[in-house]
Symmetry: C2
Subunit: 284 residues, 2 copies
């Protein structure tokens, strides 16, 4: 039976640690604050906004909402981002994307200062992930994968780690973060030939394939650690991951569940980045 | 006996193609031009500058040299870069690095417009490599590896490709470029456990280990294509690669030599990027 890498346990540990750091900041006169910039009224943006607000509140991070109508112009949005950049009381910023089609995504996201880019959307943050430096912040989802591995004491040093998926927000940054942590990282994707033979060789497998229950028993071998990034709904409306959990769990050594895994940890990682950004203002 | 992936052959083909494109540009009133910005008098910078100037001249690209004394201030250097950015007759810019220690490398390199960053040093170019888009340009050395593979018709689609080395200028961008070309890419490095067992599994191996003759027969298996990025001098003063050529060549299917391999192709790739940048100004 595999060890279940519960996101709740990671979140509890993170929240405890972050609350203390938030308090220490308050004592030094710094009130950590996250700006959330939303254009329009997309339901999933609003849901994430609510989750992030609650998570921040519990930790001791205040939030500041900037909400623009869907008809807002690019100039109006960039003016808001510049306001965030120039406001020393704001330490991090979450910009909801995708933006409505009349915005130039490249221009808008790079208007944000990397130092406040706690969700890893700017080219500056990307360069930081690429180089393994602390310029900007990595996207929260691959960072949540690393947080889970670290919490459960899973050493990556010299380990073979394979990522399924090559997206810009998960697969590619996850592979670079694994490389920076001294793992030997491989990226698999739809064009990989005989993917199961590749993933079975790995000691750690991060699955971000984007399809419900796609990754079955043939992909796994005994002793592996599996992190499932997928968030999908079955036809019956049940939440599930990209891994066929029932097939994988009896084989591998440890696996993160869905729900209750990576998705649970992302808002805590966002909060962690805000705390780090606030701490950096003190260090200056 | 392995096929020798001769850089000269790639250069000859590239030069012919690029000369035609340069002529076509001239006919449309665009004279492709590369700016080279150098601070100080480092011998290897001057040697590369000479090589790049000759290569460009033969193809029909003019060059414009900006030379600052080693004592130049950051403001002076950035002023030169801004001049390059604002001059529509300049299409690409090569900035020699490392810069003297009193410069902030991050600030200086990102002062250059990604559209003119033909050597892939800005965060914008890095984001393009990361995403596999044509924003900016990839660094010339990993791009030269891709050029060699393409010239010799080596299909990467679905192939296992392993990179030895995780540097920012070769290993990491090479792995991302392989991923964008549908290969299943793995990055090995000094912390990889039993590296030979990993590289023997690959169909394409790009070696950027940075040490003379380090990679011997135990790393290779029959049928492989090997690209050697290394440029080293033996104790006897002979130029050699990172691969022990005498050991690898009898085993593998194809291998790029040193000298006469990747290093030969980099200035042609630089010229190709300048031509592309000039062509983009027409498309606007």
């Amino acid at each position: 039976m595999a060890k279940i890498l519960s996101g709740k346990e990671v979140v509890a540990a993170l929240n405890e640690q972050l609350s203390k750091r938030a308090q220490a900041l308050e004592e030094k006169g710094v009130a950590p604050c996250l700006a959330m910039v939303r254009v329009g009224e997309r339901q999933d943006d609003i849901a994430y906004e609510r989750g992030a607000t609650n998570r921040c509140k519990r930790i001791g991070i205040s939030t500041k909402n900037f909400i623009l109508p869907e008809s807002a112009t690019q100039e109006e949005l960039i003016k808001v981002i510049e306001e965030v950049n120039n406001d020393p009381s704001i330490h991090g910023c979450l910009l909801f994307r995708p933006l409505p089609e009349h915005f130039d995504d490249e221009v808008v996201r790079n208007a944000l200062l990397p130092a406040k880019d706690v969700d890893g959307i700017t080219n500056g943050s990307l360069a930081g992930v690429f180089a393994g430096t602390d310029q900007g912040y990595p996207p929260c989802t691959p960072a949540a994968c690393m947080e889970i591995l670290e919490h459960f004491g899973i050493d990556l040093n010299g380990k073979k780690a394979t990522v399924i998926g090559r997206s810009l927000v998960v697969g590619r940054p996850a592979a670079l973060m694994l490389t920076s942590r001294n793992a030997t990282a491989t990226v698999c994707h739809t064009r990989t030939v005989d993917m199961p033979s590749v993933t079975r060789e790995a000691e750690v497998v991060i699955v971000a394939a984007g399809r419900a229950n796609l990754i079955g028993k043939e992909y796994f071998s005994p002793g592996q650690v599996v992190i499932d990034v997928g968030i999908n709904f079955t036809e019956e409306g049940t939440l599930c991951g990209d891994v066929n959990f029932a097939e994988a769990e009896p084989i591998v050594a440890a696996i993160s569940p869905v729900p209750g895994g990576v998705g649970t940890v992302t808002t805590s990682v966002l909060a962690k980045h805000v705390i780090e950004a606030a701490e950096k203002t003190l260090a200056k």
